[in-house]
């Protein structure tokens, strides 16, 4: 397996959607190619960091104000 072929299946490997025989080939490539190993580990970490850190939080006070405004507009539209 070449790096290009590995990369084409990187998302499926990260998302756990590859069949087991393909997974074994991908794992074998990872064992041989330190470049792809770094790409795989750091891409997975990238996703994990974005998932676990809410970068656009809705503060409670703003949330309450917006929520009230939405419901008032919906009631008016009834």
């Amino acid at each position: 397996m070449t790096c290009k072929e590995f990369l084409a299946l990187l998302d499926d490997l990260i998302d756990g959607t590859v069949p087991s025989e393909t997974r074994a080939e991908l794992q074998a490539h990872l064992g041989r190619c330190p470049h792809c190993e770094v790409i795989f580990n750091t891409t997975r970490k990238t996703i994990e960091i974005y998932r676990s850190h809410e970068i656009y939080e809705l503060p409670a006070s703003l949330r309450d104000r917006l929520h009230a405004a939405i419901m008032a507009r919906c009631k008016k539209a009834c």
Binding site: C3, V38, K45, I70
Partner: protein, 213 residues
Amino acid sequence: MPTIQSIAGELEPHPDVALIERVRGGDISAYDTLVRKYERQLFRIAQHITQNREDAEDVMQDAFLKAYEKLDQFQGNSKFYTWLVRIAVNESLMRLRKRRTGKMVSIDEDIETEEGSVPRDLADWAPDPEQNYNQAELGEILRKTIQGLPQGFRIVFVLRDVEGLSTEETAETLGLSIPAVKSRLLRARLQLRERLSRYFHRKKAVKETGVGK
């Protein structure tokens, strides 16, 4: 977050269906429940697309109002949440268009068509690299990094990886083909990874690089 259905869930109606029926029957408190359930997600998505807090506030309000007014058109073929996200994405793009005085804005903006090259990288990240920054610094790094992505990649990454929509739902929401979603997702992930590497490389004295310097 959207309710994660059990394996048997496919056979059971999504809990939103009962709420929608109540709203259709005139029970506005059921809509209050739906708004409360999804307002944070819609705000985040709108903020990611418009990159402006006031616009995100307006988009969120307009999207929920529009969904309420058009609830009769909701067929139930897709999840209510996916339908709602589609409205919010369209509202966000309209808002951007207004700000740019009518210039067309689409999710295809800034998309290069050629295939990216195979990245080569031997410099691994530090273990738990985010620990080298405080919350405010890390938030700034993550915002700046994702804002630098082309819009069409950013939206796909946000829906798929941050908000947890499936590839199929993302494709349906954005009106893209499944291969297009997959290709954009891969390139979004790789570009974000590369940009974050500046801050997270093991060998660099990351503290000294600072944010925006």
